[in-house]
Subunit: 253 residues, 2 copies
DNA sequence: CCAAAAGTGTTATGTCTACACCCATGA
DNA sequence: TCATGGGTGTAGACATAACACTTTTGG
């Protein structure tokens, strides 16, 4: 709530009527698969502090928009993409001193895009970078503010979302092979999945993936051409890979 | 990030240097089990707007503290409890007009307490209420601001946390029976669990629950006395009820 | 024909559900 | 001794992992 009805424990020098002013920003971690690896979009800061350093795209929230709208606006400004999909709020950050200039609380969002490569090419190349997430996490690329922590949390979140939501299909195109889809899980979780069993999991119930009847082009080394699928509607209610069954007891007697 | 390096799409009337001022608050949804039902702590607002209405406890963030510290401070002020445990941030809310007085962004936390009953009794009874969550969700009790939505999100979150974290043990005391622990899952998920299978799940690997050797008093209707357990350290890494196994392929060749 | 990648079949193993059954207590 | 709840055993259903095998392509 916004004012307290009980002030026990509040120091005398603190007056609720004079609330401290904060800037509120929205930062967006934009993820995409590129070359079989998880990548993220970074922009170079043009102003102090941290001038010239890489950072997550973001900006001030306006009083007339919601947080979600602000995140969508930032995403559109940076990438030109205005998808109504896959924009997930995952945390708020407000440590004192995280911005040396002023009190800033930032609300962080996770966005998943397919093939952001062409979009980045449209902006000034010296300003935008599609960096491997592994390099950011390991500290090879270092980021402004507390953005490295924000990225860590974003990755942790996307790993969970892969399991409990249909976010996996946001990484791939409108049609895709099962190998492409499997690569999303493998790159994000850092594991190897058995192709045969993966296929069975997603093909088990209709509703996950729907065969289009068309075939993909084999790679340069040959191999049997893969079938192309499109995402089914069941992804709205979770994902087929790793699932909780329910231990419910039927109502008896 | 806090300033943008690329201003494409930003209207001319928007000057990033003159960032809009927000109040930042922290609201805490405090949950507890009471009488086999999930309950939450509400406080009555003493000031406009929504004066006299029930609301989630909360207050302004101070520039010198982190968001987590602010949440812990609010929890301590409302309940007298200062536990270093189970305080989970789950969302930020900043819709325009959510507070009619000014621009407010609130960061919401979830806290789980055991037996908050005695604590509430310590504060002014007309100011605090331990309300059944079901009543709040159904609209029987209505709340100030957008607090009903915040509660909805909190409940959704605690249902997930029950599966992937050890939050279940925060609802019960330092020692507990398996029936008590099971009741937490049943009340939160609204399901009935098979007592025999539940026992097997938590007793399967040592590390979930550790027998103390002592027995609980049977209820007034009799029945075999239950063994008392304490929480094992494995709860730090997830929960035993409903779990994902892994489809990893062993490194071969 | 060979290598590579996709797709299918199969079996052993493990996990979960449902329920029968036994144990310890209060009235 | 009966009702009530705690605790154990177990058979069948189901899901999973591992891997052998077949199919279809490029070189």
């Amino acid at each position: 709530m916004e004012t307290k009805s009980s002030d026990a424990g509040v120091p005398a020098d603190y007056d609720p009527a004079q609330f401290p002013a904060f800037a509120v920003t929205v930062d967006v971690v934009i993820l995409t698969m590129s070359d079989g690896e998880l990548h993220m979009l970074l922009v170079r800061r043009g102003e102090a502090p941290y001038k010239g350093m890489w950072a997550i795209p973001g900006g001030f929230k306006r009083p007339t928009e919601t947080l979600d709208e602000a995140a969508r606006r930032e995403l559109a400004e940076e990438t030109g993409v205005d998808v109504a999909s896959m924009l997930t709020q995952f945390g708020a950050y407000g440590d004192p001193g995280r911005d040396p200039r002023m009190n800033v609380v930032t609300v962080a969002y996770l966005a998943v895009l397919r093939d952001v490569g062409v979009i980045v090419a449209g902006t000034d190349a010296t300003d935008a970078l599609l960096a491997p997430v592994a390099g950011v996490l390991s500290g090879q690329v270092d980021l402004a503010f507390d953005h490295r922590q924000i990225v860590r949390d974003a990755i942790e979140r996307v790993r969970v979302e892969l399991e409990v939501s249909g976010i996996a299909t946001a990484f791939v195109g409108p049609t895709f092979t099962l190998a492409e889809l499997r690569a999303v899980y493998e790159a994000t979780w850092g594991v190897q999945l058995d192709a045969a069993n993966f296929r069975r999991s997603v093909a088990a119930d209709a509703g996950w993936v729907i065969p289009t009847g068309r075939l993909a082009q084999p790679g340069p080394a040959g191999g049997r051409p893969a079938e192309l699928y499109r995402a089914g509607r069941s992804w709205k209610h979770g994902g087929p890979i790793h699932r909780l069954t329910s231990q419910r007891r039927p109502e008896r007697k």
